[in-house]
Symmetry: C2
Subunit: 220 residues, 2 copies
Amino acid sequence: MADGRVERGNQTRRTVLARTVELASTEGLEGLSLGRIAGDLGLSKSGVFALFGSKEELQIATVRAAAAVFAAQVVQPVHEQPAGVGKVWRLCELWIAYSACRTFPGGCFFRSAAAEFGSRPGPVRDRVAAARAEWTQYVEQQLHDAGRAGAFREDAEPVAVPQLAFEIIALMELADSESVLHDDPAPYERAGRGILGRLRALAAAPDELPEQPTAVSPPG
Amino acid sequence: MADGRVERGNQTRRTVLARTVELASTEGLEGLSLGRIAGDLGLSKSGVFALFGSKEELQIATVRAAAAVFAAQVVQPVHEQPAGVGKVWRLCELWIAYSACRTFPGGCFFRSAAAEFGSRPGPVRDRVAAARAEWTQYVEQQLHDAGRAGAFREDAEPVAVPQLAFEIIALMELADSESVLHDDPAPYERAGRGILGRLRALAAAPDELPEQPTAVSPPG
DNA sequence: CCTACCGATCGGTAGG
DNA sequence: CCTACCGATCGGTAGG
């Protein structure tokens, strides 16, 4: 009972998942191998297997672990900030930093995972789709709250929140993809400029936003 | 010499590549298996191997074959159209149709391939990066030519061509990704609206562009 | 009975 | 293009 075996198991689980989120971002969730992970961490293959039950469960646990990292790095820091375009822009800056600093060595975990499992029905795809839908809804909620707080101009058309969220996410994800593919930080500036252009055009107080995104240091 | 063996080999090569471009778009370039392809096509594993020399060469040949499909479906149809925002928008419509009709069952081949090989240095990544760079340069060229033809307003800031190309490509690629992941055509309308919004804001004759994108039929 | 592993091995398949 | 194989490794499971 109190011999610590359960706690040791939980610790080993965390150790395994810390490694699989890294591996999966570069080699894919399907590229995870129980034997290789075990070898890397000095465990037996069957020991790793016993902790998760199947490779598929390991993949799903890896997606959940990546979501926790993302939440801590992108969502949590803005938690207490008042709603507004400033909060939306801060969220975008945090996303760009999350991508540019290679939190996951292969770039955004959820862009990679969506590309890998997007056309493979099953529980892994469903988990990835749910994680992405939650993020989209979170961005939409921030835009909605900003609108309710009077952050958008009233002399223009009402802001189409899902459209604007789609455009912001598109710019950030292409920056992530191109930056990884070409080892180049320049796409982050493009994404930042595009997002600021949209937000400044709609903001009631555009001067509260910078004219240009701050420079992003090279990856790696 | 003239016994037709070379021609038969080329035909078999085309048959194999027609299959691998489909498979790779859903299961990845790394997921290609010489044995599986051979079995699917009633060939021997070593026969397929002999045609390409290595799995890596098969992957590169698959990327080249996909590029030919893309060029025929998206680039070739606008070849003789005069430069202008109308040509740019037509190119975007063709891209959206290329994605929405599932030319490749897993969505845009080059988005999938970039996600899979973006952080794996080597000849396959280089070939994927080159194909994407060519597409980006082609879009930029069309925007540049439109500007030279007087298609953009002169009372606004000069159009930043690479920035605009980045934004257009970002919207199309997120539509592709989300449509595949959620089996939903709605993202294509978002992408089309976003692109038209940008083009109409910059166009000297915005009335030559539609106000809304035409509806896209569901995938599959 | 439980867990968290171990060394060994299952039936199949990988690239070559 | 074929049959016939190789060293290795795959995900998963056996008894202890």
